[in-house]
Subunit: 323 residues, 2 copies
């Protein structure tokens, strides 16, 4: 398991339970099926969404079994969207393991993603969660799909506005963070005010998190990071640092390079330099900081408890990354 939560052993233990619940629910009579999904579940990731859900639940009456099942469902939904994203992106690796689409083909990846979605709804129907929450969770996944499609439609569009970019990441990332915290609190019987505040915190963390992720693609000299930017650029996905830089690039240097029918490694290097020159990363970082500040302002309004402290620490660890 990823050691992101090692400073909080009790959360780490709960997340192990969450992983185990997922493992039980991906078991199917078709052993091939289980074999194909297991590496991705085992590889884990930071498990931010289920962890935030559990932490939010601790503001109310905490029923571990009910909360962990809900957390497992949210993480499994996220996993299902990743399996399908990998088809679209034709990715080879995810969380350091070979993607299902790469190893077994897109046929498998389509049906395994669908299977995971179905298992999620089976898990949701096994507990007495409120229909309103089931609806909100479905809506969040619906938003992810729309976010992905909007992003896909805007490929190669150098005129994508910052507003449009924010709408995309709001759908594809922030919505699920928001619903994780909101639902965790709501199912634990928190006041609507606290639940909404936690949902808002999740939204702002999600926005900042995605912007930071997009900045990372353009920063550092490591070839790994460069490759990620290159892949996005070749596929026509223009993220915030680039969009800001395009806005400042009166000579259209960036546009000229993007117009090349295929981007060479040298092109990508040049683009990364130009993004830096036109302060694309700096400005993106400023916007991420704004969302981070909003998150912290809302966190401050939460009632004092250990969970509040952990949410603050983790948000700091997550969003005040060094570039």
């Amino acid at each position: 398991m990823n050691r992101f939560w090692s400073e909080y052993p009790h959360i780490e233990r709960e997340l192990e339970n969450v992983t185990n619940i997922m493992k039980v629910n991906i078991k199917s009579r078709e052993s091939e099926f289980t074999k194909a999904i297991s590496p991705l579940v085992d590889a884990g990731g930071k498990m931010l969404r289920p962890a935030f859900l559990l932490l939010a639940g601790k503001f109310g009456e905490y029923d571990p079994e009910k909360m962990q099942n809900l957390a497992a469902t949210i993480e499994m939904m996220h996993t299902a969207t990743l399996v399908h994203d990998d088809i679209v992106d034709e990715s080879k690796l995810r969380r350091g393991v070979e993607t299902i689409q790469s190893k077994y083909g897109k046929e498998y990846a389509v049906y395994i993603g669908d299977f995971l979605f179905c298992q999620c709804f089976i898990m949701l129907s096994e507990y007495n969660y409120s229909p309103e929450n089931l609806k909100n969770i479905s809506k969040a996944i619906s938003k992810i799909c729309m976010g992905e499609i909007v992003q896909y439609n805007l490929r190669y569009s150098k005129n994508t506005s910052v507003r449009k970019y924010l709408k995309i990441i709001s759908g594809k990332t922030a919505a699920l963070f928001a619903i994780s915290l909101y639902t965790g609190a709501n199912e634990a019987g928190c006041d609507e005010k606290i639940s909404k505040l936690l949902g808002k915190i999740g939204y702002h963390i999600g926005m900042a998190f995605q912007i930071m992720d997009d900045i990372l693609d353009y920063s550092g000299n490591a070839s790994k990071l460069g490759k990620s930017a290159q892949r996005d650029l070749i596929s026509g996905y223009y993220t915030l640092p680039l969009l800001y830089a395009i806005g400042e690039d009166k000579e259209n240097k960036i546009g000229d390079i993007l117009d090349n029918s295929s981007l060479s490694e040298a092109d990508v290097k040049e683009l990364v330099l130009l993004v830096d020159e036109y302060k694309g990363m700096e400005r993106a970082r400023e916007l991420a900081d704004k969302y981070t500040k909003k998150a912290f302002d809302s966190i401050d309004k939460l009632p004092e408890c250990e969970s509040k402290k952990i949410i603050r620490d983790i948000t700091d660890k997550l969003l005040n990354r060094n570039f």
Copy 2:
């Protein structure tokens, strides 16, 4: 709309409502999204699953709005699976209109299928359906995914047993027919005995329907039918008529042709003739008849009412097709 239900104007009217409910629920803020899905929903198809669901509901206390919403959900789930099937099969046409994957690419098709699934769960959470039924519906879709994967894994396998074939079609077709009738009855407050009987009828109709569909691929001289068999054969999907014929083909004539690295049109014609010669279609037809008989035997046990009569008539129209 397909005129399959024209002899039953009140059912046809209800199915129009069902289509309208689907249309409302595919509307999204992303108009491109709605535009991409609409032709498939408009093209319709026979709407067997929602119609059977409504007819089953009429054995209990029939609440049209509740029933039509449930029927729309089932049909939309079926539609979602078709959108994803078309990615796997790389199909160009579905219900006479260009498939989403062909027109917009697999990226769109992946997310639109997912979006449709999410909308279904939103629709289900808007009414007070029993959690048990939500679970059963999710399980049916899960079975479809597994059926498709098992089928995919068995491509090019000349030794596929009839038992395996039946397991595949049970998952990919019969399960959703069964759950449509069961859920319709159960949500209308029918006795568990009647609900289960209706579920069983759905299962047998589904099995017979899929076998008949597979027989159709090998029958008739129409180039259209030949093409369908050709596509399945080239993709390595060996269905019941072929499997029966292989079992009788002691000289391995069929196996030798299937071993060709690519199947020519002449090969396919030869295969169709051999399947006929070894009575593959005849035997498949006999098995379909067994399921049809089982369906009728169960229909006979239903309490007398107009719905029973329609179910009997439609089953006859559907399954006693001429070859």
